[in-house]
Amino acid sequence: MMRRSASVEPPIATDATTLAPGHAGERGFERVVLPHLSAGFTLARYLTGNAQDAEDAVQDAVVRAMRYFHTLRGDDARPWFLTIVRRVCLTTYSVDYHARESSISVDEPSLQLIDSDETPDMALQRSLVRDRVREAVDQLPPLLREAIVLREIQGCAYGEIAMITDSPIGTVMSRLSRARERLGALLHGVVDMGDVA
């Protein structure tokens, strides 16, 4: 079998004649793509609304990413991988972008976020704010929610969000602005909107 003979060969995939310059394959799928597995899982988790579908979607996305790995240029695989994750979520897990009934179920981020010097009153207040924020995000239309998750939770740049959601950058900015506006209205008195709202 060929694989058994292969170990004696030089690593031909790094040969300049077999891969375009700058091809991410020089560093390997594991080093280039896998660091973004959790980011992919987080996105899938918010898009599908549950952990099981998110796992399945990321698994699909990894298989697809391997298939198209040779098309990746440069080393920053995060927007590229998130694009694949999002497409899998949309096509396979029927994320209904117009009328999704199910709500985001968010696992309680537990106590590690609470400062040790926080009083019980402050902890309760924080917990109430969290609930209100989740409810509000839940009420956003999916495209606005997706934009806000990518921006605020994943820390993506506008350009990255545009690539991931396959939208013009102006659309991304408009979605983010509308998302913030709606959240501001829904969370009036809960969060400080400054001049933004």
Partner: protein, 235 residues
């Protein structure tokens, strides 16, 4: 950051606090790492998956180089004997297990897994009729944790095989079925390149289950399958 006068968080802070960034589950990470390492190894040495022409051509060159090397060695008169020893060192069932693992991995590429996609055994079973000269028992084992996903016709070591695809949580199980080849005996379960392989025979049919699930899961799968499949059918 909070507004000093109101004590209210700003929107970004509130969002990051309320909506956590998740860690990929350990099982998913482990699976992905295994796949990635395999992919990287194959990309460096033997691009079996060869998604693009460039690597496929590289593969041809590599094969040509190996062929040339083998020819030279054979001319010297000793390498051929060495190779025969290597080949003989692997039993027939070892070779079958290796071939099945390769087939299993190939089946996981997008679009390769199933020809007939259905969780309805009354759809999958008749699909094999006319495509292969056996009629393998097809059961939906969803109630036992192995949902039927579909079926596929495959080729293993030069003969056709019915491949029935089951799910097991995040894992896929390929159940290959063919008419027992004379001299073929049931072998114990084995693990190849991290994939579990389990073989059994009933009547005149030979079954090989292959999965990235744990070997114990395959044992449970066989028990569930045999439980439902009596008597085995063939025609």
């Amino acid at each position: 950051m909070s507004d000093e006068t109101t004590g209210r968080p700003d929107l970004s802070t509130a969002l990051r606090d309320a909506l956590p960034a998740y860690e990929a589950p350990a099982a998913l990470s482990a699976w992905a790492t295994g796949q990635a390492r395999r992919y990287d190894m194959e990309s460096r040495g033997e691009p079996v998956r060869a998604p693009d022409g460039k690597r496929a051509r590289t593969f041809s060159v590599a094969r040509w180089q190996i062929a040339a090397a083998l020819l030279c060695a054979a001319a010297l008169g000793w390498a051929g004997a060495t190779l025969r020893t290597v080949t003989h060192g692997m039993s027939a069932s070892d070779q079958t297990a290796s071939a099945l693992v390769d087939t299993h991995i190939r089946s996981l590429l997008p679009g390769h897994l199933i020809d007939v996609q259905s969780s309805d055994r009354h759809t999958v079973k008749p699909w094999f009729a006319g495509r292969i000269d056996i009629s393998p028992p097809v059961m939906d084992l969803a109630s036992k944790g192995f949902p039927l996903i579909g079926g596929r016709l495959d080729y293993v070591q030069g003969h056709s095989a019915a491949a029935i695809v089951y799910g097991r949580r995040l894992h896929m199980i390929n159940l290959f079925v063919w008419r027992t080849i004379p001299g073929e005996r049931a072998v114990a379960s084995t693990v190849r390149d991290g994939y579990a392989v389990l073989h059994w025979t009933t009547g005149d049919l030979s079954y090989w289950a292959v999965s990235d699930a744990a070997p114990a899961e395959l044992d449970a799968f066989r028990a569930a399958y045999l439980d439902e499949a009596s008597p085995p059918l063939s025609r």
